[in-house]
Symmetry: C2
Subunit: 304 residues, 2 copies
């Protein structure tokens, strides 16, 4: 067991911003390469309506491809995003391990993003949780988008976020829960404060994940702050894959290689081999329409 758990999200949160359709083979090559670097949890796609995100329409082929590329069960957790019960039911028929149900702490963002009130999303979570309970091969994750800042409402009230966190735990007691800095506007002191409180009110059996974007260059500072508070689960995307819908071309998710470099430089084992991640970075750079970021990647480029 490594000291921290890094959850790779490029094949879902990264790829979904790419307009040209990425061939299934390219997705599988990326996922294989990420897995080979030692990542133990990879979000490989989403069961969403193709009209909503065309890039995710091939999720069943991706999952089948993963299944066929290994003779044994993959050694990493295959995470898939599901926006609702229907997505969960579809995912339950496919070879995957964990469902990621997303909704927003900010009601305005939730209405715009998933067209539901918070109450409706919490009700949907109960339905998704039932699907997971009925399918013992599945685990659940709940991602609370806009846990810190909302593009419409601004700074999100800490007490509201903690309240939604508790309601989510109540409806899905065994789920992993992610607090997401969707806009990248959280600052390290806010991250530390929220994680201090969140970890103090959640049972130790509930892993709390920090999902952050590096849009304003605070990604690693925020990861360090969350770690300091006791967080041990971190989302990241290789090559800073992701973009940001509110700042076209800007860096997206905090880069996996930056997170790994940071932890390893501080003597904290991630279980990930940075040199193998370089191969995934090269693959990311070959993807047409990719919006990339990250510090280590740019350093590598200059050093080559």
């Amino acid at each position: 067991m490594s000291a921290v758990n890094i959850i790779e999200v490029a094949p879902r949160d990264g790829f979904q911003s790419v307009v040209p359709l990425i061939p299934v083979e390219a997705k599988l090559a990326m996922i294989d390469t990420l897995a080979d670097s030692g990542l133990k949890s990879i979000e490989v796609g989403a069961f969403v309506h193709p009209k909503a995100i065309a890039q995710m329409a091939d999720i069943e082929q991706v999952l089948t491809g993963i299944e066929h590329s290994t003779t044994l069960k993959p050694e990493y957790e295959r995470v898939v995003l599901v926006p609702n019960e229907r997505g969960a039911l579809n995912a339950a028929q496919a070879p995957c391990d964990r469902l990621n149900f997303v909704f927003s702490v900010s009601e305005t963002h939730n209405l715009k993003n998933v067209r539901k009130t918070l109450e409706q999303s919490l009700a949907e979570l109960e339905l998704v949780h039932k699907v997971v309970e009925a399918n013992p091969q599945l685990s659940l994750r709940v991602s609370l988008a806009t846990s810190f800042d909302c593009p419409f409402e601004g700074t999100v009230d800490e007490a509201l976020c903690l309240q939604i966190l508790q309601l989510a735990i109540k409806r899905a007691p065994c789920a992993q829960i992610a607090l997401c800095d969707t806009t990248g506007k959280a600052h390290p002191f806010a991250v530390e404060r929220l994680f201090d409180k969140a970890l103090s009110i959640t049972p130790s059996s509930t892993p709390i994940v920090f999902h952050c974007h590096d849009t304003y260059g605070l990604g690693i500072a925020n990861v360090a702050a969350a770690y300091r508070s006791g967080a041990r689960h971190f989302d990241s995307a290789v090559a800073g894959f992701g973009g940001c819908p509110f700042a076209p071309g800007a860096s997206g998710n905090v880069a996996t290689e930056d997170v790994v470099y940071f932890f390893e430089s501080a003597g904290i084992d991630t279980g990930v081999d940075v040199s193998k991640l370089n191969r995934a970075i090269c693959l990311a750079e070959q993807i047409e329409g990719a919006q990339l970021g990250g510090s280590i990647r740019q350093l590598n480029r200059h050093q080559l």
Copy 2:
């Protein structure tokens, strides 16, 4: 008084890596623009031998230009680097406010960089201090390079760094002292630890500055860590100006606009107007041979 003091170093630590000579007018335009953004301390050049750093050979013209561009004394502190007593004596004849004497905690780096042993550098510091004492218009700063990591020796012993810090204070009791992460390899937990100890053993009358490089993307995380420990003085370079001699093309000093964005987003007043900094970023981008970095700058570029 702002809550933190940001010391701009691009016109010295940034410009010195640029090979094509930057015209004096371009340097003055940059310095004026930086001052106009609210920065209260700007390192404007160095009194070094032109054979060592040709880019700094125009320091007297730069200082005269600053003097002539304002009818009153400039409202910011004009800092100049001096490598030795001779540089200090030259600076004492010129219109400037603070001398920055640099040597390295790591003996190997010091020998390679300034061709002195630590003992010789401490002796030189005494001579520079005497020049400052004899010239009441001058203040002193001592920069301890490789306070965390040395390109030749690796991780620098914390106890050695604290010992050198104390010896420096003894020889220059009124000086501002900078702990410098020269290679960018310090991690936030090491920064916090060193600043905790450094601030606990120094008199409150001795300002301790954090000077860091963003080479590996840890710049802002390290600034946040130093602030957390009580540091209130930070070096930075607009547009991440600086490069790194050991990784050509890589980002150099932590970017002023990133540091300002970070503090202001956390509600900590810097006294610097980010929108005015954008003009300095544009000037930086026009300088031939400039090696730039920074997150906010890249975001701005995409948003334009």
